[in-house]
Symmetry: C2
Subunit: 357 residues, 2 copies
DNA sequence: ATTATGTATGAGACCGGTCTCTTTTCGATT
DNA sequence: AATCGAAAAGAGACCGGTCTCATACATAAT
């Protein structure tokens, strides 16, 4: 009833204009900060706006300008420290550039990813950063890019898809630690990942959908082959999706007769489970089992022994993806760029020379 | 030039209507899924939409409906595992209820929080979930709530502000572990938190802006007082904002002559630094120093010794906040609710009876 | 004094949907 | 065949901004 009840029905430029005794167009010029206005009128409008507690409607603004000031981010799982750190990098840069971030988890599921992208496009995000679940299945990404919305890929690229991409030098890192393990005398080296195949058995790297992991496995296998260790395919363990599943796989793997003497964990969540399991079944690290994990998670430094890891520049991964995207948003129209960030092996104490054979 | 170039200028209902040979209103009915349409027309419109690759503009839809299908989330730092897990809970419920999430980090800074909320209101989010940096400074939240947008507070409430709130029973948890330490003979018990005061010294719980931490410190002090330990205020350490600062504080604290025999860490990031520092300066846990940390972070189970923690239902905290909000969004108009979730002490091996005194 | 130049303001279309109100169509009823 | 009522379709206003274009007025140039 009371028109002053401020509640309901937000205040619009028209309301402010009426109160200030000017036209809607003029009030809009002041409020929107464009065009030319006299100081007198500017003050009048500003006062009126304050009095009415005017709040601009960004939605309406986006309608005409065509820019929403929003970027959409699709990651596998924000709960994973890898992604939460990368997202931090993205949001920092985005905020700096005046954008807000809409975040959607895909759960590493392609159909969820498709739905997420549809939603984001419907909401008219200005650009997209995606960590694609399957690098072979990118038609929806291609399409989003075709719609004129800049796109940047995070941590996982696609060879067949030319678009701004930021990844770590996973192949190189995997090759390095593999070589190191071989030089220390290891021959039975396992690689364990969350990725999975329909039949749960690894045949070739092409079975692996996640780009970063595929590159690592390639590095692992190639290095083994060069060192005269063929057919290491059977040492690639898949399906470590949840901690529970990982524990089961680890148990079967480590209790077997022909158990590996070294394990490479594809991320820190898996690394943690391997560590727990080896302790559980009484396998001493590093005397009886060497362990190297990807991702320098905080806990890896405080275990006994502390674990050797491949440190990825996760925050920078996110930051860089956001920077590339913002450049596009600012009109950069050059060819797609692939940025590869360097990793670093942090030597701790979970790796040892193999004594007997 | 080529009108078929699909690129630029997105396809609108009007375009679809023209192609299908019906009015804009009718096409909108089909595309928007409302009103009544004949099967024949529905098919025609659907076919036309597909042919033109029509993508609804959610922005335009939001304009008229007044609902954006978005909820705004403001947390201290998504990089902190506590928040990333809570956010996961929020996004899961939000997605289920058909909402997307706009995420903004406040960095525990009130002015950033204010800016974030202004942005979110401008973007016309349907509701807000905020983890307020200062529970004393909530005028901006109150205002956001007054604008008719439902609001739920996460992990931190405000006594003076009646609004849906989800917290853990921090006071109870702190009292419990304090009592336990006292019973084990500890008298010099330190509490260390990231919260800070201008003069970096703790005087009274009212100095603490973060609701959850204030309640814990109150529980700590009250229990000490009841047990005949007065003036424990000097054992509250503040300003452990970054790992570096925490390390410095921990060093000074643990190397002092009159060092504490037990430490309560207010979160897992701090707990990790205490653990590292005590190892660095050669203080054996638990023989020479007992440690209890809030937040059951993954690493706490794998250290030697594993550390005793207060397990908070973090995911549920986020989930519940989102549920309360969604209920409001669906029209629930009852009095504000305060939900307190129970914590649980996970006994591990970082706490021991104090031998000599 | 008259015309040119530029600045300040107003009027109204527009963005892409939704929604109300009116008109047309069609099947059922008597 | 005439009448009625509901279903289907159309016309056009509306949401809250931006933006183009026209107009009014002031100042400067001739």
């Amino acid at each position: 009833m009371d028109p002053n009840s401020s509640q309901r029905a937000s205040v619009t430029v028209a309301d402010v204009a009426r109160k200030a005794g000017v036209s809607k167009a003029t009030a809009a010029r002041v409020l929107g900060g464009y065009g030319t206005v006299s100081d007198r009128v500017r003050d009048a409008v500003t006062v009126a706006a304050r009095a009415l507690d005017y709040r601009p409607n960004e939605l309406a603004r986006s309608m005409t300008t065509g820019r929403s000031g929003t970027i959409g981010v699709v990651v596998g799982d924000i709960e994973n420290p890898f992604f939460s750190l990368a997202v931090r990098g993205i949001t920092d840069i985005a905020r700096q550039a005046g954008f807000t971030v809409i975040l959607i988890n895909s759960g590493e599921d392609v159909s969820a990813e498709k739905a997420a992208i549809r939603t984001l496009v419907a909401k008219r995000v200005d650009g997209l950063i995606v960590s694609p679940a399957k690098e072979s299945d990118v038609e929806h990404l291609r399409e989003a890019a075709r719609s004129g919305r800049p796109l940047a890929l995070l941590d996982r690229g696609s060879e067949a898809f030319e678009v701004d991409t930021v990844i770590a030098d996973d192949r190189h890192a995997a090759a390095g630690i593999t070589r190191q393990l071989i030089e220390l005398g290891h021959r039975r080296i396992a690689y364990i990942t969350a990725c999975d195949t329909p039949d749960r058995v690894f045949h070739t790297p092409n079975d692996i959908n996640t780009g970063s992991v595929r590159r690592r496995v390639e590095g692992f296998l190639d290095t083994c082959r060069e060192a005269g260790l063929p057919a290491m395919e059977r040492w690639v363990y898949m399906g470590a999706v949840t901690p529970e599943q990982t524990r089961q796989i680890a148990k079967r793997m480590l209790e077997g007769k022909n158990r590996p003497t070294a394990v490479i964990a594809s991320d820190s969540v898996i690394g943690l489970e391997i560590f727990k399991t080896s302790r559980l079944i009484g396998l001493a690290i590093p005397q009886e089992l060497s362990l190297i994990s990807f991702h320098d998670a905080d806990w890896t430094a405080v275990t006994s022994p502390p674990v050797t890891v491949v440190r990825q520049p996760v925050y920078q991964l996110g930051e860089t993806a956001a920077k590339l995207l913002v450049e596009r948003l600012n009109g950069n129209d050059t060819a797609p760029r692939k940025v590869v960030l360097r990793t670093e092996v942090v030597e701790r104490a979970s790796v040892a020379r193999l004594l007997e054979d």
